[in-house]
Symmetry: C2
Subunit: 233 residues, 2 copies
Amino acid sequence: MSTTPSMAEIGALVGNPARANVLVALLDGRALTATELAFAARVTPQTTSGHLARLAQARLLVLEKRGRHSYYRLASPLIGRMLEGIMAAAADGPPRRRPAGMGDEALRAARTCYDHLAGRLGVALADALIARRRIVLAEDGGQVTDRGARFLTGFGVDLAASERRRRAFCRPCLDWSERRPHLAGAIGAALATRCFELGWLERMRDSRAVVISPAGRRGFVEVFGIAPINGGF
Amino acid sequence: MSTTPSMAEIGALVGNPARANVLVALLDGRALTATELAFAARVTPQTTSGHLARLAQARLLVLEKRGRHSYYRLASPLIGRMLEGIMAAAADGPPRRRPAGMGDEALRAARTCYDHLAGRLGVALADALIARRRIVLAEDGGQVTDRGARFLTGFGVDLAASERRRRAFCRPCLDWSERRPHLAGAIGAALATRCFELGWLERMRDSRAVVISPAGRRGFVEVFGIAPINGGF
DNA sequence: CCGACACTTCGGAGTCTTCCGAAGCGATCG
DNA sequence: CGATCGCTTCGGAAGACTCCGAAGTGTCGG
């Protein structure tokens, strides 16, 4: 009943809008410069610098200096999962009277979430995989079925690399724009990587949004069976 | 890049030591009265009342009035998982210069963590299950092996009840006192329930700590193969 | 019906935080 | 080498928060 100071410290860190913006901007695992983060945080560079120093001291972020730039990124995937958890709780919390149309449309369509896919595309992908019994997702975890393993291998995802068979983990991650789960974990990451490899997706500069190429558009429909309407493209 | 106000709100809520103490006290899912929570929070009842009202308004807690008592509990398992995530991040964060001997010894030995077992007992249990290839745990998720399923069924855990076979989910949860994962998810909860049923464990009043009965002591060694020394009892 | 109890609301003192302007420190470029 | 750029540090103003004492509301017990 007394071992909690550190939890409150982390809460206080996340509890400032500027710092929360920084953390969300870093959620896809990339390293951003202090100036880019100042823009994301919506405060001046001086103020941001102080915030970044505090986040780094608490080991939520790590700093890498290169030339005259300071690159900050999340200290570990653990931090990313913590933030996901907070966002999930925030998403099903009080009826958000936030306009909801506010967020960037490109982000809502398709984006990366740490190392996997989110947004309408991410959710549609998860839905399609579930509908065809290729994966099973519950609140607490998930599983790749045998037919799912065959399908993913055929698609070029190296399941063996995601650690020996039966350790190819699969986990739900609550999408904060769609408020429904999408596919995360080792499988989600591997799938996203493969889509980038195939040129189905491309990252947008200075954003976590991704754009779907014409090949990707075809592929998601033909290979995964996503209805173009549901995929939102 | 703008859809984060709610995340900061939740962070700010968790970021106050008194409120963090309240949330941790409720982590095992029980409902506690305002007065009990004031004790846990280490502030006066007036102050606690304000905190509880804010937590309830943000839907982190729900309030149930019975007679002249106000019972508060976590609004959903989602909130519990969010708190776990924060604690896990806190645990592997900066080298905690906290005396470390501070925490209640009984809590460190064995306690409930929302609905499953934690502390030295929880970690030892997970270790024993892993060593005998009954479960597999990775950072992102886990799995019950076939031999594990047979073992658990034999122990009296109803795997079918944790939703159809192959949906019996198993998930790691970072133990904040031991800083190593223990077993959570549907399987972790079912296992804990069975241990209480068998009388191997008993809850302590006004604490998340659990005491191991003599039968439990024998059982954990003989059935699970926990070395008494590692189990800490 | 009165007192004890559980809880909440109100008001104000003390404290901590956030923020920006100004200025400093290195790295890079011409 | 001097100018520019990226980032950080310093100082102080404005604001927000937490906390408790005092007092109010509703419930239970005799």
